[in-house]
């Protein structure tokens, strides 16, 4: 029999107290795992969303660059328009590898999702596919011509609208009926919820002749970006946004929420530490005579210190395991909650819990046990055997 087994059996002495303390640690660990999982998951999902836009540089009409970038990413109304001639000028630049113009417009559909909602329409050209080579057709094909009254629907939008290639689709507000020429495979990006139509058709039916909302650009060499940006600086009506900047800015926006959640996690950890110290200290005081007898029959200071330390490590270790399980099981709920709170939530899993993260949390919980156990273990090991034995007499 080892000290570790004695420590484990000691925890069973006051089951309710032990369970509650383990629960406290578990909650702290679950919050921490979810937070770290969210940090990692959000970054991955954002990178995925931005990378799958296919371009590194976005040219939009002058305004708030990050609002524009977020609207391009997320969709929504309120985008400013720029003149198409800007595109005609920029396309001549030899530093450009690939370029595509876009016109985004949203239409309110009173029947959408039961309570009404916006549907996003995007006018595109075939160059759009060169920037997103991973895009594949689930069914159907590209528009029959660049002015056709046709749409290509994203995977999720097609499921929502229950449309197949060849079906008709009605655009409320402008009372226009278009034909579905194709449906894209799932991409895991915002494109899945978008309805695309030829750029010229979009300009015509939305009454936005010669207007664009953005130009996506992939440079041959990204180190050319500062010079490229500088050259476009003189264009009064436009602004250049690098997607790396967009990622950074969105992460900065999210950092406020992260600080809040980190504070909650920090408080939960402090509460858990106090809970563990309190539980173990009470247990030590209740066992004063027993500890005195252990020392009388040959237990050294180190034996007693280790015994109490093992108890805190066990509480925190078990709390760590339970907390990790809670974090895994509650991952979807956390994601649902977080998505509702955040101004911009990328597609995909926002809470990314890896085995490395779980291991780190378990180690963290054990370290928490080591720290929490120092004082109670010190108190127990410092007891003088005679005084300890006499304490209950």
């Amino acid at each position: 029999m080892k000290l570790f087994i004695i420590a484990f059996k000691n925890l069973k002495r006051k089951k309710t107290r032990s369970v509650l303390t383990i629960g406290g640690v578990a909650i702290a660990v679950a919050v921490l795992v979810s937070l770290l999982g969210f940090n990692a998951g959000y970054q991955i999902a954002l990178n995925n969303d931005v990378d799958k836009m296919g371009y590194q540089v976005l040219v939009t009409a002058k305004g708030c660059p990050y609002e524009a970038a977020t609207l391009m990413l997320k969709g929504g109304g309120g985008l400013r328009f720029m003149e198409e001639e800007v595109f005609d000028r920029i396309v001549q630049d030899e530093r450009i590898d690939k370029i595509t113009p876009q016109l985004i417009n949203t239409v309110f559909d009173a029947d959408k999702d039961g309570g009404g909602g916006f549907t996003m329409f995007m006018g595109i050209e075939k160059s759009y596919l060169t920037l997103k080579p991973w895009t594949e057709f689930k069914e159907g094909e590209w528009f029959s011509d660049e002015n056709a009254d046709e749409v290509i629907i994203g995977y999720e939008a097609a499921e929502l609208e229950q449309r197949r290639a060849g079906d008709k689709i009605f655009i409320p507000g402008i009372d226009k009926v278009l034909t579905v020429s194709g449906i894209f495979e799932r991409t895991g990006t915002q494109d899945d919820g978008v309805i695309m139509l030829p750029l010229k058709t979009a300009q015509r039916i939305f009454d936005l002749e010669k207007k664009l909302t953005g130009i996506g650009i992939k440079l041959k060499d990204m180190t050319e970006l500062p010079a490229f940006e500088e050259d476009l600086y003189d264009e009064a009506s436009i602004q250049v946004i690098s997607m790396a900047q967009v990622k950074g800015t969105i992460m900065n926006l999210i950092s406020t929420a992260q600080i809040l959640v980190t504070s909650v996690a920090f408080i939960a950890i402090i509460v858990a530490i106090f809970g563990v110290v309190n539980t173990i200290l009470m247990s030590v005081f209740e066992r004063t005579q027993e500890i005195g007898v252990m020392k009388a029959i040959g237990a050294s200071k180190l034996d007693v210190f280790s015994l109490i330390w093992y108890e805190t490590i066990l509480i925190c270790g078990l709390g760590g395991i339970v907390g990790s399980i809670i974090a895994i099981l509650a991952g979807n709920s956390v994601e649902f909650f977080v998505k509702k709170l955040l101004p911009y939530a990328p597609e995909g899993n926002l809470v990314h819990i890896t085995s490395g993260l779980l291991l780190l949390s378990l180690v963290g919980a054990i370290v928490l046990g080591l720290v929490s156990g120092i004082y109670p273990a010190y108190r127990a090991s410092s007891m003088r055997p005679i005084e300890a034995i006499r304490s209950g007499e």
């Binding site: 000290l3 069973k12 252990m294 009388a296 029959i297």
Partner: protein, 229 residues
């Protein structure tokens, strides 16, 4: 017979404000192997203080204490732990067993603390000797008082001590059980173990080979002892 314990002019003084309390004031006695000695005295006579000092749980203010031929008077705490592990067994009135462990696990504790590998044969021999073998897997809080004391006795014998120190060992036991425990003590003494018993139970004390009467921190003659008046 060799003396297993020698106490020479042991004094223990405490200070209470400006007053000096002489808990022990020059106590001389010896205990040899195979001897059972009882210490009796009224409350406040210094019995417990003497027990603590000869158990190596406390240091005397003055005097000399030898256990198994070693002068332990000025030993450090870690040296005293070693002496307790190797030479002294303890039996308590309150048993002080760990309630979450079985009888056998309690008995194994001295092995755990002395970092020795557990010797199953030794455990079985000791359990058989004190009559607890059939209850070895029962959690101690489910045992009767007599069985708890047997368990406590077995625990004290695990490291094969030279002296057994028993503090009111039969204080909480019924007469029949008390006699059984005393018989065990008797057997152990015959096998060479020295036993030192502190008790208020004069009937039990009378059964030992020698009685030390303690009063006001000093050893007195039987006729001087207030217990007999």
């Amino acid at each position: 017979m060799d003396n297993i314990l020698e106490s020479k002019s042991i004094k223990k003084y405490y200070h209470r404000g400006s007053e000096t309390v002489k808990a022990l004031d020059g106590v001389d006695f010896e205990i040899a192997s195979g001897e059972m000695v009882a210490i009796v005295g009224p409350s406040g006579s210094g019995k417990t203080t003497l027990m603590n000092i000869i158990s190596c749980l406390d240091n005397p203010t003055e005097g000399q204490l030898k256990i198994a031929g070693k002068d332990v008077t000025n030993y450090t705490e870690s040296q005293l732990i070693k002496i307790r592990r190797e030479n002294i067994g303890f039996v308590f009135q309150q048993f002080y067993l760990i309630p979450t462990l079985t009888a056998k696990e309690n008995i194994e504790l001295p092995f755990v603390f002395s970092k020795k590998s557990i010797d199953p044969q030794r455990i079985n021999t000791v359990m058989e000797r004190v009559g607890i073998q059939s209850k070895q897997n029962i959690q101690v809080n489910q045992l009767s008082g007599g069985d708890k004391q047997r368990c406590c006795l077995a625990r004290s014998l695990m490291n094969d001590p030279a002296i057994l120190i028993a503090d009111e060992p039969t204080g909480k036991l019924e007469t029949q059980v008390r006699d059984a425990i005393f018989s065990l003590f008797d057997e152990l003494v015959q096998s060479g173990l020295a036993i030192f018993i502190a008790t208020h139970d004069l009937e039990l004390a009378e059964k030992t080979q020698r009685i030390i009467h303690l009063q006001d921190g000093k050893i007195v003659q039987r006729e001087e002892s207030s217990l007999y008046w």
